[in-house]
């Protein structure tokens, strides 16, 4: 019985993702009305389940070539996980360090400009930021003849590009920074802080060992929000910078057409497999970021 609730939760979770992948088949327009194509949709689900055993659910086509999902997924998953984990770690550590280094109570006025700039950046949607950064690189190239960064992926460069990393890092960084400041302000008046200050504990120890640990606890509760922001950005970033990751694969191959950039064909099995892999990517990212916070805590308590 202990495992029944998580099992039911996981089953419901998978069913919702299956239902989502079915939407392009389930709803069709006939004679100007939206109709539900339930029989055909259920047939696709049945085929997918039976195909798991005989391997046909893993087969997909890209152009005129047929591929096996299991053979190619590690390559795409590596790119997506890299763009989730690296910026996530950088964002969390950076936000924690910047937020705590700044005295949260005494320097509110002095850092007004920084706060306003960060708030303005955070208010920009990811796709706008991606376009603005790409435009900036092109403008600099036109004026100076110097190419600062690569604006989209090509096979001659590695998979880690500066611009998508910046876009992916910025949102968790600013979110963590603001959260650390808020939490630090809240903690600074707590009785254990006042007591430690009265006992003559050094400022550095107060800030890192007392306030820092308390702040890390509140960061842990906000992790789902941070990962949710990153999961939204990864779809836009991979598409905008043409990164060979899972989400771009979804939009360019699962929704593909006879010509580049077209949506006239839908591969249900591939879309479902990618969405399930994205769900796995969410939990892996969450685990990586939880480990990052645990490492930060150990560093704050023991090393500093």
């Amino acid at each position: 019985m202990r495992f029944l609730k998580p099992l039911m939760h996981a089953t419901g979770f998978v069913l919702v993702i299956i239902a989502m992948a079915l939407c392009p088949i389930l709803f069709v327009v006939k004679d100007g009305h939206v109709v539900i194509n339930a029989a055909i949709a259920l047939g696709f689900v049945a085929d997918w389940f039976s195909g798991l055993a005989d391997g046909s659910s893993w087969i997909f086509s890209s152009g005129s070539t047929t591929w096996n999902f299991a053979d190619v997924v590690p390559k795409f998953a590596f790119v997506t996980l890299s763009y989730l984990a690296i910026p996530g770690i950088l964002g969390l550590v950076g936000g924690f360090a910047f937020g705590l280094t700044r005295d949260p109570l005494r320097s509110r006025h002095r850092h007004r400009f920084t706060d306003t700039a960060l708030n303005a950046l955070f208010a920009l949607p990811d796709f706008v930021l991606a376009v603005l950064l790409q435009l900036l690189v092109i403008v600099v190239l036109d004026i100076t003849g110097h190419k600062l960064f690569t604006i989209s992926y090509d096979t001659s460069h590695g998979i880690l590009l500066a611009l998508p990393l910046v876009v992916m890092t910025l949102y968790p960084l600013i979110y963590s920074y603001r959260m650390v400041l808020r939490s630090a302000r809240h903690t600074s008046g707590a009785s254990f802080m006042v007591d430690a200050e009265a006992r003559g504990v050094s400022k550095a120890s107060l800030r890192y060992k007392h306030m820092g640990v308390a702040v890390l606890a509140s960061m842990k509760t906000e992790l789902p929000s941070i990962v949710a922001i990153m999961m939204t950005s990864i779809f836009v970033v991979e598409y905008s910078f043409s990164l060979p990751g899972m989400t771009r694969w979804l939009f360019t191959v699962a929704f593909s057409g006879s010509r580049r950039g077209w949506y006239d064909n839908y591969q249900f099995a591939l879309a479902l497999n990618i969405l399930l892999c994205m769900a796995a990517a969410y939990f892996i990212t969450m685990l990586v970021l939880r480990l990052t916070l645990a490492s930060l805590k150990a560093a704050v308590v023991h090393a500093l």
Partner: protein, 300 residues
């Protein structure tokens, strides 16, 4: 911080006016297209101009590859963007607000909605994309019916946040002495909702509406990146392209996103317009938030 509310409000009123009367500001009629034109100079020589044309006195924002005036497209497309944003934000606020109150008052469910759901794992705009994809591309529904369908789909997603926050505020109201007093006097649920909850949630609902406008604008922009445009996507064979049926502003960004190098005006003007709308909404939301914070809300 009243200046934020003032500037944001004035900008939004101006944008609303332009959206209602685009013809007053547009040099050309809706859908104006001129792919090739000739100019005769004073000495009698004739020069030919091909689309796309850079911004000039003839086309203030330039023209696109197919000779459409960018300014005309933006002016006529603005109404679609604003209509979608307002309809979805209003529906979310009303439905989410009502569900939030009912959840606590009628069904007695307490606490915020906190589970790891597929909605957290897969972003809501991807859910919306999957639902709208079969309807939006070369839609037989017609732009207006499609807009309403798109708004309905966008409303369903992201309701959880509003329901949760309104539930929590309703819970707080139910612990106040005036509410308990009304219950002791035998007030029924309808009376309680009408006189002791909804009036006190008004500021929260207005704030939620304003916040949702920003969220919807971002959602529409993200869908535009993937060529799913408000009002419909037209997929043509010759020439090969996916274009916005309505010319909605976020859709134009998606349509001209490839114009990073060469003819950048095609991307820059829709992007600038989108940022003006977003900036106005953000200022208004921030100003409204500051204004409401000043109000005395001791019942919490």
């Amino acid at each position: 911080m009243r200046y934020k509310l003032l500037i944001g409000g004035v900008c939004l009123i101006a944008l609303g006016f332009i959206a209602v009367f685009p013809g007053l500001f547009s040099k050309y009629p809706r859908g104006y297209q001129d792919i090739l034109r000739s100019i005769e100079s004073s000495d009698g020589t004739v020069a030919w101009r091909f689309a796309p044309e850079a911004p000039s006195d003839t086309y203030h924002f330039g023209s696109d590859n197919y000779g459409y005036d960018i300014q005309t497209r933006i002016l006529w497309g603005l109404r679609w963007t604003l209509a979608c944003v307002i309809i979805v934000a209003l529906s979310r606020t009303l439905i989410g607000g009502a569900a939030g109150v009912l959840r606590v008052l009628v069904f007695g469910v307490h606490g915020s909605i906190r589970t790891v759901s597929p909605m957290a794992v897969i972003p809501s705009f991807v859910f919306v994309f999957f639902l709208l994809y079969p309807m939006t591309i070369n839609s037989p529904l017609g732009s207006l019916r499609l807009l309403l369908f798109q708004c309905a789909v966008m409303t369903i997603f992201d309701l959880g946040g509003i329901i949760s926050s309104i539930s929590l505020k309703t819970e707080a109201l139910m612990k106040t002495s005036f509410f308990e007093g009304a219950v002791s006097c035998g007030a029924n649920r309808l009376w309680l909702a009408k006189y002791h909850i909804v009036p006190f949630l008004a500021t929260d609902l207005i704030e939620a509406f304003a916040t949702q406008t920003v969220a919807v604008l971002q959602l529409v922009g993200r869908l535009g990146v993937f060529s799913l445009f408000v009002g419909g996507t037209i997929m043509t064979l010759d020439p090969v392209m996916l274009s916005s049926a309505s010319g909605e502003v976020a859709g134009l960004i998606g349509q001209y996103r490839g114009r990073l190098q060469g003819a950048q005006w095609m991307l820059l003007y829709p992007l600038g317009t989108y940022l003006v709308i977003l900036g106005s909404l953000r200022l208004f939301v921030s100003g409204l938030h500051d204004q409401f914070k000043k109000l005395d809300r001791t019942y919490y």
